[in-house]
């Protein structure tokens, strides 16, 4: 990647007002001013994304490692009270960071493999989350295994379930796959609800916490005390403090990012991209599409399962109601909102989707209403997502990226191909 097609290396923000206005100008006069404001926000986020990407492309390896290190450092001190007092005045910040924020981010990373990279629409992703959670619950209460063993097993079990679902259904194209995955999600939830061996509608209670590693505590004094982190025991998994669980989630997230990122730059990632862009062409060029689609499903499922295991380890009890369809939809919204296919974008999207409803808790009963409205507005003003992948952005600029009334579509080219094949 080289410093590329951005408008200029410095002052990349200077073009924002003009571009925002030129977009708003095309709208109805009554809407023009509010729209201009919104476009300014979306254009700015895009320009910062682009500017950062250009800068990133020019950096040598050492600098990149420094940034990675810094990011991890930030993530480590993130659950401190001083940050929490701003980010979530109404509820415990560390708990929030563990779930939904951390959980959604990891789920979005997993779903992004399926949707963003391989281009398979999965509307039942919550099923794998549930399978991971129930694996932890059943093995933890009945088999007496400990968390770390179950984490491994849970990942395996959910990957296997991904293969079991995918093997018969991945020959389906586009939206047929979407409804089948949706059905699978509901099958898993209702089956859990109807099976008394795993607690039926009451679910499973008494899920063990992970074993304590050490009783080391964060020492007093600078900088920990000013951050409000001192005295926390990050390796003692109790019932009250969410910090240790957040660190487990963070660890899994980091591992998942490395894993997914390595895949993206490998033969597998290129195969996924080719399947996403044009499945028939990929097949003709010798890509074993079915195998790679199955791999995407299995890997996405494995990550979803990992979230389930970690979540169950903190939650003590699970019920089928923890895994509704709307969670699948929310995670999908996170992926698309952030910028399908682009990992930082997807994580940003997941963060926003998890955080906004919590931050506006003071609006009480209207928060979900506003959340729904925000989704629509964001999609209208930034359909490519907040931090889109370069490719997606280029497609949109060409005007070939969509479901337009003229039916020109790239994302759904599989449907067109299916029609042409008839």
């Amino acid at each position: 990647m080289t410093a590329g097609d951005g408008p200029s290396r410095t002052g990349f923000l200077s073009a924002v007002p003009a571009r925002a206005w030129s977009r708003a100008e095309r709208l109805n006069p009554a809407l023009r001013w509010p729209a201009a404001g919104l476009f300014t926000v979306t254009e700015t986020s895009g320009a910062i994304g682009d500017g950062f990407r250009d800068w990133w492309g020019r950096q040598p390896g050492g600098m990149r490692w420094l940034v990675y290190l810094l990011l991890i450092l930030v993530a480590l001190v993130l659950p401190s009270d001083s940050i929490g007092s701003f980010m979530s005045p109404d509820s415990d910040w560390a708990t929030l960071l563990f779930f939904p924020i951390g959980g959604y981010i990891l789920l979005a990373i997993g779903l992004n493999v399926v949707v963003g990279q391989a281009g398979l629409l999965d509307l039942g992703y919550v099923a794998f989350f549930a399978i991971g959670g129930y694996t932890m619950a059943v093995l933890g209460t009945k088999a007496g295994l400990d968390f770390w063993e179950i984490l491994f097993l849970g990942v395996m079990v959910s990957a296997l379930s991904g293969i079991l679902l995918g093997a018969p259904t991945l020959r389906l194209r586009g939206d047929y796959l979407a409804i089948v995955t949706l059905g699978f999600g509901e099958i898993v939830r209702i089956t859990a609800q109807n099976t008394n061996a795993i607690g039926g509608p009451n679910g499973i209670a008494g899920i063990p916490h992970p074993p304590n590693l050490t009783d080391w505590a964060v020492p007093d004094g600078f900088p920990f005390s000013s951050l409000g982190l001192s005295g926390i025991q990050p390796f003692q998994y109790g019932a009250l403090d969410a910090h240790p669980y957040y660190y487990v989630m963070l660890l899994v997230i980091i591992v998942a990012i490395i894993f997914v990122k390595r895949l993206e730059y490998s033969r597998v990632g290129r195969a996924w991209a080719s399947i996403r862009e044009d499945e028939d062409a990929a097949e003709l060029m010798g890509v074993p599409t079915f195998k790679f689609k199955l791999a995407a499903f299995a890997i996405g499922a494995a990550i979803g399962g990992a979230v389930g295991v970690v979540y169950a380890a903190q939650a003590v009890s699970l019920t089928p109601a923890n895994f509704p369809f709307i969670l699948s939809a929310t995670i999908l919204a996170a992926v698309v909102l952030g910028g399908s296919g682009n990992l930082p974008g997807v994580m940003l999207g997941a963060f926003l989707v998890a955080w906004i409803p919590e931050r506006i808790r003071f609006l009480a009963e209207y928060r979900i209403l506003i959340f729904g409205g925000v989704l629509v507005v964001l999609m209208i003003f930034r359909p490519e997502g907040l931090l889109p992948s370069r490719q997606r952005k280029a497609e949109l600029a060409e005007g070939t990226g969509g479901m337009g009334a003229l039916g020109a579509e790239v994302g759904g080219s599989s449907m067109d191909a299916a029609r042409m094949a008839q």
Partner: protein
Amino acid sequence: VHSFIDQFWPSTVDGLALGSIYALVALGYTMVYGVLRLINFAHSEIFMIGTMAVIGALNVIGVPSLYSGFSLIGVALLLTVVGGVASGASAVLLELVAYRPLRRRGASRLAALISAIGASIFLQQLFARLVIPKAFHLPKEKGALPVDKHFVQRTNVVSIGDFIVSNDKLILFLGAILMMVALDQFVNRTRLGRGIRATAQDPETAVLMGVNIDRIVIATFAIGGAMAGVAAALYMVRFEETSYNVGFLLGIKAFTAAVLGGIGNLRGALVGGITLGLVEMYGSSIFGSQWQHVVAFSVLILVLMFRPTGILGESLQQARA
């Protein structure tokens, strides 16, 4: 299996009644999908709005005594008109607010899907938090509870041994068939219907031939929405109860029905809806009603494994065939 044989006729009648509702709602999914290739996730809320309009209309005309016989037919007719208008209008509004701006910008189908999901969440909450408490004078926290209105006096119209059809089910079934036939004729014989088929088949060529796509899209949403409104009225005749999330499961099922029959195919919606309704009722008589939904989705997966584009295949464009 014994219970299946014992329950065969009652399940068949219930299955046909349920299937008729699925089929009518599935029409909305299938038409929008045929024209825009978009899963209109908020269609379930269009249905919900229809049921609310029906309750509103019943509150206005009042229920001096339970309706049956011809007075029930009259009331049902009125309610289908009210439901159809309310749902059709809200479907058009939905397209103007949530989908048209995205189409203008050439957004991806995925973005449109998220906009649809957002609109669905928004509408559900709007009704639960504001509209239901205000319109039906309920305390605010009651908005999320079911609202009901009894107005049907049930009598058995046909009764041959086990084969018993009550008046509400008969109205439901006949109403659905009537609407399906009318829509089929409309799409196949009128100018607007031809425009819809042309757009579904090849939008670019349709534009070149002078079809006004925006008008076609509006018409598609209006018709699909109106069908959901009719379904809502018939649903209320049968069940007399609704809530802010009544559309959720029904919407998923109707979409399943559309896919089962072959999405984009109007007759497929009928076939898929009836099939799904029967399968659910037979399935729950065999395995117990708690497995009803599992049976439905399992059958969907099985059918798609062997017929990847549904029972009749996808073809709004070839509706004449």
